[in-house]
Every structure is written in C-alpha cells, then in structure tokens.
Symmetry: C5
Subunit: 316 residues, 5 copies
C-alpha cells in the first residue's frame, strides 16, 4: 500500500483516488505514503506545492526530528523507535500538515494501520476534528511506542543488575555497553521530539489549533516521562557497573584467599621439616627408629587440624 488517500468528516471516512483531492473541500484529506515510487512523491509534491527542501528531506531519509514552517504547510519530521531482532531502529515519520490535509510518509506500516483503525472506527472523535488532530494522533502513537522499547530495555537492565553479582563475566560488560548505546539513541530521539512538540505547542505552526495544543501537552508529558525513565536506567547501569567491578574484585580476592590458605598450610609443615634438617650434634628424635614416620604422621595430623580450624572459622 504505497499510497492511500482518505477523506473524512463528521459523517464519513472514505478512500478516494489521489486526483479527487480537490473534490472534497469539506473533508479532511489524509495522504498516506509508504515506500513510495519517486514519481508518486513528485506528483504529490506538485499537487501540494511542496518546497524542494521538503522533498529532498523525505527522499534522503536521514534527517533528525525537527519542525519547519512554510507559508502553506508545516513540515514535521519525527522518529518512531522499535526493536527489530534485538536491534533498536528508528523509523522516520514525515508529516506535511496543511489547512485541510495531512500528508504522512513512513515505513512503519503498523502505525499507519493503527491510525486508520482509529479513523474508521471513529475513535477519539478524530473525524470531528481537523488534520492537526490527525497529526497529533501520529505524534502520540510515536511517543507511545517508546514504552515497549523502554520495557525491553528495562528487562535487560534488571537482569544485568542481578547478573553483575551472580556471574560477573566479561560479556555482561558488552551487554551494558550495548544497552547504554540504545539508551543514548532513545535519549537523543526523545530530546529532539520534545523540541518538536514544544515548538508546536508554542504556536510556531498556524495549522495547530489551540484545542490540539491541549492534547499535545499530554504527549509532551509522556516524552518527559520517557526521558526520566532513560535517566533512571542509565543510573542503574552506572551503579551496576560499579557493582560489577566490586564483584570482580571480590571474586579475585576469593581466589587469593584460597591460594593463601594453601600457603598457610604448607608453611608450618616446611618449618617442621627444616627443624629436623638442623645439624645439631644432639637431637634425640633423629636417633629414634620411627622418628621419620612419627614426624610425617605429625605433619598429616597438623594439616588435618589446620583444615578443620579453617573450616570452623568458615575460611574454606
């Protein structure tokens, strides 16, 4: 469905061909594009009288979220984030908002379907309102999509928080670095979308009615919440990293303790052997027939006592 045009007013919501755009003066016209062919863009651009810069932005697809004012329309770029196969990707959403139309361009089919359903099912009174409310619906949906993304991140962050104590392995550091990068993407995106919404709320666009501004405030609150969550997760990651370092340190110390225990057991034994290696003229034990075996037996006994003592002290 590369191109769909819908016209709706309080009475009806119908699909129309692109060339009939002018035949519905009392309807809100929604032109929905998705992976359009170049000539489709061009024909729409000439129909809506789009500025070459707008067309260029939509073609290149690498612009950051922003709002640009033109005399006859407002050009809005925003991001819709989602996790695809553990990879965080940002779908672009381009919107051209005019007096009685909204043009949208995005590869996020899911969002298009979602808004179509809202319009067709007459939900949220969309059909009673203008194209700016439709644009708000898109922005709202885009911001709502932050939540599943953050939920996924939260799951990883929470698991990491447990793992850094239980199994402080090197790969957890890599997971943390990945999540940190994802959070950076989310924060940057949220930051810029906040700017977009804040700019629309301040009345930069004449096509946004005061009534829609009230709804935008809601979206604005959600984006602020998103940013707070990002900060929270980032804090948790930082403290998890500290805990990881402590865990590694404690594991190392635990090994050191084991090694030191071996050393501590060997030293008294060596000492005893050294004693009977002394060359004194008169050392009665050396003359005993079973002196050697008695000393070996004593060494074994001493080892057992030391191990038992360390066990009791919970050092082993």
């Amino acid at each position: 469905m590369p191109l769909q045009v819908m016209a709706y007013n309080i009475d009806e919501a119908i699909y129309i061909p692109l060339q009939d755009l002018d035949k519905y003066p009392d309807h809100v016209k929604w032109i929905s594009l998705s992976s359009p062919a170049e000539d489709e863009i061009n024909s729409i651009a000439s129909l809506l009288d789009l500025h070459p810069l707008v067309i260029e932005d939509m073609m290149q697809g690498e612009e950051l979220p922003k709002v640009n004012e033109y005399p006859k329309y407002t050009f809005i770029i925003t991001d819709i984030l989602e996790f695809k196969e553990d990879e965080l990707i940002a779908n672009k959403l381009y919107m051209v908002l005019g007096k009685d139309f909204l043009m949208t361009l995005t590869e996020d089919i899911d969002t298009i379907r979602f808004v179509q359903n809202l319009v067709v099912s007459k939900a949220r009174n969309i059909i009673e309102q203008g194209p700016d409310f439709l644009a708000y619906t898109f922005l709202d949906r885009g911001v709502d999509k932050f939540y599943p993304v953050l939920d996924e991140i939260e799951d990883i962050v929470m698991e990491v928080e447990d793992l850094v104590i239980e199994q402080p392995d090197k790969w957890i550091l890599n997971v943390m670095t990945d999540v940190r990068r994802d959070l950076l993407i989310v924060r940057k995106s949220a930051w810029l979308i906040r700017e977009v919404i804040s700019s629309l709320m301040r009345g930069s666009s004449p096509f946004i009615t005061p009534r829609t501004v009230i709804y935008l405030r809601d979206v604005y609150d959600h984006i602020i919440q998103t940013m707070e969550l990002v900060e929270t997760y980032r804090d948790i990651l930082v403290s998890s990293r500290d805990t990881y370092m402590s865990s590694v340190s404690n594991s190392l110390n635990e090994v050191m303790k084991q090694l030191t225990i071996i050393a501590t057991i060997m030293l008294p034994l060596s000492f005893i052997a050294s004693v009977y290696g002394m060359n004194f003229k008169f050392m009665p034990e050396l003359e005993w027939e079973y002196g050697y075996f008695a000393v070996l037996g004593f060494m074994i006994l001493l080892t057992a006592i030391m191990i038992a003592y360390f066990r009791k002290k919970k050092w082993i």
Copy 2:
C-alpha cells in the same frame, strides 16, 4: 456479599434490590460487586448497557490501570496493593461511573466495607455529593493503601541497611532482589494510577465534576509522594548493595590478614631452622649439648614476642 446495591442522597442511605435501580431517580446508586457469578455480571451489564469490551476486561481481570471513555459512562481500572503473607499482591478495582450511579467490582472486601462505613456514617459529606465523589473515595482509599505497603518495605529496607554491614550473608542479596521486585511492582502500579488520576483531572470524563477534581488533586499529590518514596527506597537498596560488596571485601581481607599473620610468624622460625641446617665446618652452637633445645626455646620465645607485638599493634 457478591452483590449489594445502595441508594443514597442527602437524607438517607439504604440498601435496595438490584431491580429497583430505576425507582430512585434522585439517589446516587452504588452497585457493589465482589466475586460475582457470571449471570450477575450479565444482568448488570444489560441494566447499565455496558460495552462488551468492558465486560471482557472485568471477566479476565488482568488489565493494567487505565481510563476508558464511553458515551454513557467512564470505565476505570485501578490497583489496590497489599501484602498477604509476605507476598505483594495487586487487587483489581473496576469502576463504571455514570451520571447517577457507580458500579464497583473488587475482591478487596476491606475497601468495600471502609467505603460503606463512610457512606452510612455520613462522613466526609459523601451523601451530599454525586457518584464521582464516591469513585474518588475509592481511588483515595486505593492510594492510601500504598502507605502500609511502603511501610512494610521500609522496615525491610532499613533492616537490610544494617545487616549488610553486620552480617554480609548471601541471603541478604536475595532479600534485596525480592524487595527490588516489589518496588518495581509498586512503581509500575503507581505510575499507571497517576496516569488514571491525571487523565480524570484533565477532564477526560464528563462525569467528574470540577469540585471532585479538587479532591483528585489531593490523591494525585499522594501518588507522587508514593513514587518519591519508592525512589528513595530504591536508592537505599543500591547503596546497601555497594555496602554489601564492601563488607564482603572487608571480611575477605580480614581472613587474608589472619592467614598472613600465620605466615609471618612461621617465616622467621623457618629461617632459624635453615640457619642451623647450614653445613659450615665451624658452627659452635651445633656442638653445644643443649643447643637443639636452646634453639627450640628461642623459637617459642620469638613466637610469643611476635604475637605480643601484633596484639599491641591491634593486628590480631
């Protein structure tokens, strides 16, 4: 008490049978359900003309807190948290708020009784006001119930904070993980209930009067306080975990110190034994009759001196 219907106005508060609902046009009608049979729900649904989606939500019982607007009523879902046998559980509270009635569905008998008492005892002027005030009373009660839950968590958190220093055992980590999960549940619940109340305050529902909005602001403040407390406890847990890691590290180091002291006592003794194990032609001590015993005695003396010295230095 699966089903109770109460009708009240400024003069009286009486229990009525369900079928008499229409006979009290000037009363506020409160239909209270608790573990209802399916046909009870159905008969009420047809009486109040409930949407199938509302019925489905109430039947399944796993929905998150939210507000849904319908032309004739507002459907509100919220959580009422409590600790049952050390387990944090979230009772659902479903409310259908209409022009002159409120339907509530919850398994939390305690809350139903509490509100019934308020109505019957004419407290807080409930009977002078509409069903929205009754709904507020429920929301208020639900949010108030966060406090005992957080008190219980605070007790555990405070004890953990002491224990991580005094007895840094592994099981404390498990306790901390459990509390952390409970805090997560509380935070999520509070987060969503805040959204519900914020949505009602913004006037999303036509059945909420401005007067009740003022009271909702109070509930909103309480939920914000709850969220602050959750953050505080979370911070304490994080810092307790760091302290735990330091405690474990210090315990390990203490053991290392003990072991090293044993080693440090053995080494000079071994050295002395080695000295008399040397094969020099002329070593006068070796010829002494009691040289061996003199050396043994000196070793014992040296050990005593070292132990005394370490004691004095407070190393033992």
Copy 3:
C-alpha cells in the same frame, strides 16, 4: 499550670477563670492545658462540646499528626520535637480551633511560655487577629523547633564525616545507625506536619482565614526546608558509610603491607641459609673458619639494606 485561660482582643490580654469563657464574646479565648487532670478535660470537653473521638485522642496521646474537621471546630494534632539528654523525643500538641477560641494541650511548657510572651508583649500583632493566627503561631513555633534538632544532628553528622577517615572504629557505625533513626523520626514527623499544614492551607477548615493562610505558606516553606536538610544529612551519612568501609579496607591493607614487608625481609635470608644447607661436595665457603659468622654478618647487612630501601621507597 495545668489550666490557664486567656482572653484577648486588640485592647487587652487578660487571664480569666474557665467559667467566665462566655463573658468575653468579643475576645479571642485561649484555653491552655498541660498535664491536665481528667475532670479538667471533661469539663472543658462539655464546655466546648468536644466529640468523644477528640477526647480519646487527647487522652491516649499516641496519635500521629493529622487534621480532623468537626462542624464547630477543627481538631489538629502535631509534633514538637526536641533533644532531651541525647534522646530525640516528640511532644504532642493538640489544638481545638473554633470560631472564637483555641484550646491547646501540650506538655511542652517552653512553647506555651513562648506564645504567652508573644501575646502579652503584643508581638506580631497577635492580639489584632483571631484564634487561627494563634494556632498558626503554635504551628510556626513547632516547625521552628526542628532547627535546633537538625543543628544537633548536623554537628554529629559532620563529626562522623571526619571520624570515618581518621578513626574508622566500629562504634562510629552505631552512632551512624542512631542518627539515621533520628533522621527517620524527623522525616516522618515533618512529612505528616507538612500534610497537616497543606490541608489547612487548602481551606479544609472554615476557621482558618485567608490572611492566616498566607502565614501558613511560610511555615510550609520551612517544613520543606527541614525535609531537604534531612535528605542532605542522610546523603552525607550514606557517603560516610562508604568512606568508612574504604577506611577499614585501607587500614587492613596497611596491616597487610607491614606483614608482607616482614615476609619479604625473611625470604632472602632463608634463601641464603638454604644455599649453605646444600650438600655439594665442593663448597669452598663451608670450609672457611669464620664462614658461618661471615654469612650471619651478611644476613644482618642485607636486612639493613632492605629496610633502608623500603624506607626510601616510603613503604615503611
């Protein structure tokens, strides 16, 4: 002075007997109770027509700060904290605020005297205003008393912050735990008093005039400042505890270093002794007449060199 009744207006402030309460219709009447006998409470209760619940609360004396509305008066409970012999205690202050009277009940004689002086000295224009301003004066005094308490805590916290580095002894942990508990009490008390004041400011009581609300805002600001201070001290305690753990760790490591230095000095000596304990046929030194003493001398020299070297390196 279990019972004192004062009547004042813009012209005069006089002590009157309780039974003359009705004879001064144009005066503000202040009934001040302190450790009253039961019959005194009862006679006042019947005079002021107090609700049994109010009387019960005042008798039991264990209620938390709160505000209760009654048709003819507002019942306020608040805490006045102070340190008595290093113990943090919370004196209760009960107030019954009516149209032209204020009844106060507290054991905190100091506060009663303070307010009496203000009234008698005609300070702050108290006598030009109603009983709500008198109630405000009490609340203000109660909140002001947080400051000396927090000053005392600050002194301890600051000293602890120094001591954890200089003398990381176990008893400091106990001091920290005690202070932490005191802070908890202060925070809880401040939290609830904030609720009380916030409730009075929102106009819950008809006996509070708008003019007094402005003054209450001031008290509200002070209680918020108190809570900020509590958080600050708590943060300092947490970071002090971390520093304590590091201090202990560093002390332990310092001991380890001393022990390791002893070991490091012994090992080369033992090695030399071992060398001359070898059984080679041809070892010229063994044949020397003073070989033994030469080796002993060399060992002493080596020890001196090592100690000098470690000194130079600042390891000792």
Copy 4:
C-alpha cells in the same frame, strides 16, 4: 571584511557606506565589525556616541558576558564557543543595541555570514522586525553553537566511559582532566550567558520589545538544556573516574593473583625438598638408588596436578 553596514526594512536589505547611516531613517541599520582598525572603531564610536567604557571593553577583548544599560543603547557581551584543533576557544561577541541600529563586533566570521544569509534570504521574517530581533538572532546562534561543542565532548566522554574498563591507562586520566576543564569553561560561559538573557528578558533594556522577549525565552530554554548536558557529562566523568580506580585496582589484583599462584606452586615443592633434607637416622627413601629421581619426578607431577587444578578452577 572588517566593516560592513547593512540597512534593511520589510522591502529591501542593502549594503550602505558607513557615512550614509542617517540617510535611512526607516531602515534597521546593522553595523558589522570584525578585526576592525582602531580608527574604524573610533569613527563608529563617535557616530553612535559610545561611552568610553564600552570602547575600552571592546578593545581589550577579555570581558566576561554581561549586559550594561546606557541611555541611548544597551551594551551586550557574550561568548561563542567552538573547537579549533581540539582546543576549546571562546570568541567574544560585542553588541550595541539601539533604537534603530545594532552594532556587532566579533571575530567569528562564520556567525556573521550565517546571520547575513538569514537577512538576505528574508528568513524568519527578520526584515519585518527591529534590531532587537537581529540581536536575538545572534544570541540564538551563539547558544546553538554550544551543541556541536557538547557533541564533541559527548563523543570523548562516551569513549572514555568504555576505555576506563578496557584499558585503564594513565593517559585516560589526562583526557578526563582536559574534558573536565572544557566542561568548566562551557558551564561558566553558559552560566553568564544565561544571566545576560535572563536580564534582557526581565526587561532591563528598553530596546528589547515584548515580542522578542518571547523568542528569548526559547534561547533561555536552550541554555538551560546546555547546562543540564554539562552536568550529565560531568557526572559521567566522575563515575568514569571511579570505574577507572576500580579497574586499576582489579588489574593490580589480577597481577597479585598470578604472583600468588607462582608462590602457591613453589611452596609444596619446597616442603618436599625440606622433608628429604631432614637428618633422621632411618629414612628408607634416602637409601633407594633412584630415590632422588623419583622425588624430582614426583615434584614435576605435583606441579602438573596443581596447574591442572588451578586451570579447572579458572584461577589461571
């Protein structure tokens, strides 16, 4: 282009010679200076009647951002930061804002060009507005230039955050110190520019119209965001430094572990050798023909077993 004078109104934007300044009473006059000769400054100073203090400030070029009010104009100093060859430098921007003119003096050619383009291309409706809007454009541009600077810092900070774990080398500390100093410069600059903008917004200058104040609010928000980012990066640096210390500590401990393993392997071998160095009369092994080689073989076997055991335990 040391000196350029532009005059513009809603119809046109033209370059004019300095002496024609008075011939365009209905135009906004923009006098742009860059590395001016001294006599140029003097001639402009006499034309605009500049106070000697203003001239002195512009000559010396080391003043901090500030606003000074004079009867006929407002004198504004601000910073424009940029990275030049990894060095953070602050270009000064001096502005003299009068009723119908703006004089600017800066070495930042890039910013001059940027604003010239905006005026010539009639962007942002600059030409419909007064010289205060032109001054705002400069301030806005200056604040926008914080972002690339902070982006560069962010890149370094993020890399440092990874490196402190992977390669905790000494030079990273130096990088951190450098970035910390850059952040200090940015913060001080942002702090003072905030003061400048805040002062202009409060209406300190009669040459700033209310309409421009609205735009200044936008710049104010951006500068606040800048300061938040600076704090964030600073926090990351602090926590990175902690991680660096832990990393260094863990590397050291790792080395200690290796050394201790060597010691732990040597000790049992030494013990065995000591045993056969004992001088007991009756030690059967000593008499065996291949006893010596048997013991050597056993020592090699024991070493292999210990190494295998340590490998299995993942200590090596």
Copy 5:
C-alpha cells in the same frame, strides 16, 4: 571615616553633618557608620529613636542574618563574606531602614566605598529612588561578594580533584576538611540571607516599595545560584574523598605488588637450594666438582628470566 551622613535626591548628593538630618526633608538620608565610637551610636540611636534591642545587636556584633520589624523602621542584619589571608570571614552589615533614611553599620569599608561611588556617580538611578533601593544596593553587593569567595573555593576544589589521584597525601584530607567547613559557613550564611530577602519580598516591611521588590527577586535568584554552587562543590568534595580512598588503596596495592614480586623471585631460588639440601644417597650433581657454582649460576639465570618475564608482562 567612622560616621558619614549623605543626603541625596534626584538633583544632588551631598555630605551633611549629622545634626542637619532634619533639614533635608525631601532628601534620602544615608547615615553610614563604621567602627563607631559608643557615643556616636547613642546619639544616632536617640536621633532615630532606635529600640534598645537593635542597639544591643549592633554592639555585640554576633547576631545571625535576620529581619526585625519595628513601627518606625525595619532592622536588617546580613553577612558580607570575604577571604582574608586564606581565612573565610563574615563581616556583619546592619541596616536600619526607615521612611526616608537608611542607617548602615559595617566594617567592610570596600562595600561602603562601592555604594558611595554608585550614589555619587548617579549610577543605576539610585538617586531617583528611596532608601529601600539603597538597602537593596547593599544586599545586592553583599550577595555579589559570594562569587569571588566561591571562585576561590572552586579553584581549591578543582585542584584537590586532580591531586587526590596524582598525590594522595594525608594533607589533602585536611585541605578538604577546611574547604568543607568554609562551604558550611557559606551555605549557612546564604541560607539565612535567603530568608532575609524572601521575608522582605513577601512584604514584611512597609518600607520596601513594590518596585524594589522586583530588584530583590534578582538578588534572590543570585543567592539561590550561590546555594546550588555550594552543593556542587560539596558533591565534588565527597566524590574526591572517595577517589582519595581508592587512590590510597591503589598505592598500597602497588606496594604489595612490588613486595610480592620480590617474594615470587625468592621462592623458586629457595626451592632449588632445598633440593640440593636433600640427603639422598645418590645425587649425581652433588659429586660434580663445579656443581655448587653451576647451581649458583643457574639461580642467577633464573632470576634474570623471571625479571625479564615480569617486565614483559608489565608487572614491574
């Protein structure tokens, strides 16, 4: 200049003798005292009809910042901080603000001169305004003086932050403790001055005109900024202390590593010596003529290999 009296209005600013105070009814009178003799204070007190408590406060000179209302004037105490020979001292500034006069008493000559210059040079339109604006000028100057103090502290804090890593010496802890105490003084002072200004802004004094309140808001913002800076520096100190502890720990560990390396080199050598100390009947090496020297040579070789290996591993 213990006593100076200036009278000014929009036309002139002249010094007058004290006794002529009443001869300039249309002028603002500024009585400036500095280290006054007691009889000077008394004569002024009787002229201005000062309350004995005010005179007492000014004589004793140890009062904390506060505002006291009297019928005919407002009495203000504030602090002016400065560093004198590395010592932070707080000069008191006492002000008595009446309807048409301001009396100031301070030892801070610098501030008096500063304000005199402002008046004489007719800066900031002081002479067009009342004595409250003059009082504001003093308060503003006092708050401005926080900045150089904080700059000095910042320099120390930044240097400490570097030194704790590079040279973690004991004296840095003392510097930190000193700075921490200075910050405490600044915070307390700022806290109380904030209270003073906040009280004046709320209209507690009838001698403060609404116009001056606007200017006071500016001072209020500055004092808030001061308090934020204090918190920032305090945070840096806390984290620096943690870094110091880690630095000390790492230095200790570095020493331990050196010592352990010595031990690790000695142990294999000792082992070899022990081997040739065994008493086996048949040990061919013992019979070799140069066996002893071969073994000594092998020991030297082994030592060299170990040192080379440790060098390669970067352990030395």
